[in-house]
């Protein structure tokens, strides 16, 4: 007798992505692929000075060009585009989408052209002549804090965007400060590590630049806006508010999005201008960012200076930590700019039991592109500073870097663990992850290998770093947008499933992972499930994809919505099968009474009945569709350990990454293949920061790394094969036990590589090297050591 094949359980399996067929055939639709009849193109004239007063804008030639629809100066735009809102509670200077009288960074928009095609629009923008009265450029962070060489925003003396926020042990909710504990910790110290460390400025560099198509339909009084964004619902909220429209009158769509990395969370001036001009002119408007523009006009990441002091006993026990953080936020506050350094503060406790911690955060304006979230957003910075200090402590005490950590780890039985920074770590076993990494790296043999190489005169070094990060962002008290996620699940009349998620992906593979979850929940084939996202006209509510929250928050919302529908479907099935709903089983495409699969109905039959319910079971409405909001009570705290080996060429100073071993614990995993991809990508960006990436400005405030020729995006040849593994410590914060994994790779890799470089160069007496590991910098250390 033929048996029906049983559907496999999909959650936890390495399932090929359902997104891929369109992407590998060039059939996906990114924003630049959208064309609408009558659409015109937008181009921005950008400032070529870092700081200056606009004295004259001559648009005559541009305006007269064949194919030019309209030209606007910043002042003209300001008449219908109000200053841009931000999403943090700090006071903030006015920020116009297009500068009205003063430019504050090179690349700031000063005028706008609408034209027939993008070539004409660019020609016309180039033909606009702007005269400036130049002002001194504020470039150096610490000099900026003294108000020198000038003050950028008049109401922000000494360029202080956020003057000083204290946190940690002895700091009250009212910011009152009691130094007793921290003073005692340092007074009792047998060793104190003190180091100034710079976590340099980075360009997020999604390979798809930003872009927007805005289509206001005057007849309907409604706006549709497509944008390469991580969060269409936030875009809708902001576009509506800025254009005097209701949120019901704006439909925001994130089509296929070519990477975000935090830089596509922000809602940008270009989006506001495109929307407002579409409304003004009554035509569809498209703007696509050039890469050269992206370097100056898309937010940067990191750029935070730390003065770190770590107090310890000679046996490696940490007694106290002082962290003075000064962030260079660039010229303006964007949506989340001011909040990013506070995440560094929040995570200052790292993986350790530290009796006393004092952190202060100061944020400073400079004449540079504004910063905002970049993969990891505040947490890699914290990890970097503390792990560097721990590494220096190990070196000072001649201890193995793993042993110093072991001595101070928060223990598994101490969770939930409330840190002095206000975080409550959900669950963890830091030692287990580190031990697995040590085992996989063959740490003892690796050390012998390093020593043998060093004995031969090679500059080989090992580095280790552990991390804990804060993910699954919510609850609403921690996010101005709301800290929940939304999902809707509908069983269609034919038994197929449509589901929506507010977690709008841009490479994370939610169509696959969320499909796996629903297929298992309902016992149906994956092919029968469609996950819809990215369109506020289809997805009722949502927050978006950032802070490694899709799975932990969005996935849970999906799970809850599915559960509601399933409960109702069980009631219909119970009526149909004349059984109790508690005994109904969903399996293998069938719905049946426990123990009697043969007498059940197909999933589609039950669905059909729910839509034509004759008779309608008492107390039930027809149909199978429901939704859920999920707001977690707490964040999740994934963790892990990364180990690296690098070699530095004694003659040229060029570093080569020889080995990278990563153990990451993201709780329960839905699709390990996709998780590995996420970690690989994070590692690549973390390694990129350690080794080759840096945005550099000259003293005039000109970015001198404004193209891929000068800003080094890692290539395939920059990496060895990464060696991944995981431990699984589920979180109690959500029913899936999933913690989130999107940013993990950027956390441990960066400090472990710098540690390896320091180790490689230890014979020269070096204890810390600021990133990036430019060969010239390393060569000088080698030369200095020789002389």
């Amino acid at each position: 007798m033929a048996t029906t094949p049983v559907l496999p359980k999909l959650v936890g399996q390495r399932i090929k992505r359902r997104e891929d067929p369109r992407l590998i055939q060039g059939k996906a639709t990114y924003v630049d692929d959208i064309k609408i009849a009558g659409m015109q193109h937008l181009a921005f004239k950008r400032s070529d000075v870092a700081h200056g007063r606009i004295t004259k804008i001559d648009v005559g030639v541009a305006q007269a060009m064949e194919g030019v629809e309209a030209v606007y100066t910043g002042a003209q735009i300001a008449a219908f585009v109000p200053p841009m809102p931000i999403g943090t509670p700090f006071p903030s200077p006015p920020h116009h989408a297009v500068a009205t009288d003063t430019v504050r960074y090179a690349g700031e928009a000063v005028a706008v052209v609408v034209a027939r095609d993008r070539y004409v629009a660019r020609d016309a923008a180039d033909a606009i002549v702007v005269s400036y009265e130049r002002l001194p450029a504020v470039v150096d962070l610490e000099q900026a804090m003294t108000g020198k060489p000038t003050v950028i925003h008049q109401d922000f003396p000494n360029n202080l965007a956020v003057p000083l926020v204290p946190g940690g042990t002895g700091v009250g909710a009212d910011s009152s400060v009691d130094d007793t504990a921290i003073t005692k910790a340092f007074a009792g110290a047998e060793v104190v590590i003190s180091q100034r460390m710079m976590n340099q400025r980075l360009a997020p560099s999604a390979i798809e630049p930003r872009g927007v198509v805005a289509h206001f339909e005057p007849g309907k009084g409604a706006m549709t806006i497509w944008s390469s964004t991580q969060n269409p619902h936030i875009l809708r909220t902001m576009i509506a508010a800025m254009n005097g429209l209701g949120q019901d009158q704006v439909r925001a769509i994130a089509p296929e999005v070519g990477g975000g990395f935090g830089a596509k969370i922000n809602i940008y001036g270009e989006e506001y201008v495109a929307a407002a001009l579409s409304k003004q002119l009554g035509i569809p408007i498209k703007w696509i960012e050039d890469r050269s523009e992206a370097f100056v006009a898309t937010t940067h990441g990191r750029d935070i200076l730390a003065y770190v002091d770590l107090a310890a006993k000679r046996d490696g026990t940490v007694l106290g930590l002082k962290l003075r953080l000064i962030a260079d936020v660039g010229a303006y506050n964007m949506l989340l700019t001011a909040a990013i350094p506070t995440l560094t503060m929040l995570m200052a406790n790292a993986c350790y039991r530290i009796p006393a911690i004092r952190v202060t955060v100061t944020e400073v304006f400079t004449n540079k592109t504004p910063t905002d979230a970049y993969r990891g957003a505040g947490r890699p910075e914290a990890t970097y500073f503390i792990e560097r200090a721990m590494d220096m402590l190990a070196r000072e005490l001649k201890m193995d870097p793993a042993d110093v950590r072991r001595k101070n780890f928060i223990q598994p039985d101490q969770f939930p663990f409330a840190t002095p920074m206000g975080a409550v770590y959900d669950s963890g076993d830091y030692e287990k992850a580190m031990d697995l990494a040590l085992k996989n790296a063959k740490w003892t043999e690796l050390k012998a290998e390093r020593d043998a190489a060093k004995a031969k005169g090679r500059l080989v070094g090992l580095g280790l770093a552990t991390y804990v990060e804060v993910c699954g962002l919510g609850p609403s008290s921690s996010l101005p947008t709301g800290g929940w996620e939304h999902s809707g699940v509908t069983i269609e009349r034919d038994g197929r499933i449509s589901a929506t998620t507010g977690a709008s992906p841009h490479g994370q593979g939610n169509e696959t992972t969320f499909g796996q979850m629903l297929a298992d929940q309902f016992g149906v084939p994956l092919e029968h499930v469609t996950i819809l996202h990215g369109d506020t006209g289809v997805v009722k509510q949502g927050i978006g994809t950032f802070g490694s929250r899709s799975q932990a928050v969005g996935g849970t919302a999906l799970h809850l919505a599915g559960g509601k529908v399933k409960a109702k479907m069980a009631k219909f099935a119970a009526a149909l099968l004349e059984a109790s709903e508690d005994d109904i089983v969903f399996e293998n495409g069938r719905v049946f009474v426990k123990g009697a699969p043969a007498s059940g109905k197909s999933f589609a039959e039950v669905a059909a009945y729910a839509y034509v319910p004759v008779p309608l079971p008492p107390g039930l409405e027809p149909g199978l569709s429901d939704e859920a909001f999920f707001e977690p009570a707490n964040n999740t705290y994934p963790f892990g350990c990364h180990i690296s080996m690098i070699e530095i060429d004694r003659e040229t100073g060029e570093p080569t990454l020889l080995k990278l071993v990563a153990v990451d614990d993201a709780g329960n995993l839905i699709n390990p293949l996709i998780v590995e991809g996420q970690i690989h990508g994070g590692l690549a960006q973390g390694i990129g920061q350690a080794m080759i990436e840096e945005v550099v400005y000259n003293s005039d405030g000109q970015m001198i790394t404004g193209s891929f020729m000068d800003y080094a995006i890692p290539r395939a040849t920059d990496f060895p094969r990464f060696e991944l593994d995981s431990t699984v410590t589920p979180t109690p914060v959500n029913p899936l036990g999933a913690k989130g994994v999107g940013e993990a790779g950027t956390l441990g890799s960066t400090p472990c590589i710098v540690a390896a470089a320091v180790d490689a160069l230890s014979e020269f007496g070096v204890t810390h090297i600021d990133m990036m590991l430019r060969p010239e910098k390393l060569w000088r250390i080698i030369q200095g050591g020789r002389s």
């Binding site: 590998i24 055939q25 990114y30 690549a684 290539r715 094969r721």
Partner: protein, 153 residues
Amino acid sequence: MAQVSITVNGKVRKADVEPRLLLAHFLREELLLTGTHIGCDTSQCGACTVLVDGRSAKSCTIFAVQADGSTITTIEGLARDGQLHALQQGFWEEHGLQCGYCTPGMIMSAVNLLNDNPAPTEQQIREGISGNFCRCTGYQHIVNAVQNAAGKR
């Protein structure tokens, strides 16, 4: 305006173009073959890679008029008779893509690589795709994808 005649994915396409029109824009805007992407303006990223007379080329670095008379294959022309190309299959099986933006260019570069060297080592694969940036994957699964495709030939 200049007249060009270019064979794209097996079809002869004639058009009047501005001499300064980039091949990438010709493919995307005139022929609506939007699978070829643009990721930079300095010929670094490789998102725009296509095959010109069988060799991989960055289509943002060539004017449409320079491609006059040539034969071009874009990502849309890679699958034959509804059968995915071995590299498309490999990228799918090995999770060689995330956001997918670099993918068409990456695949076209890899086609060229495997044409030149049907059994590349890992290092040769990494070098072969080093003119293509991917910001999402860290390249490891892309290397696996190319190995997967090479193994099937």
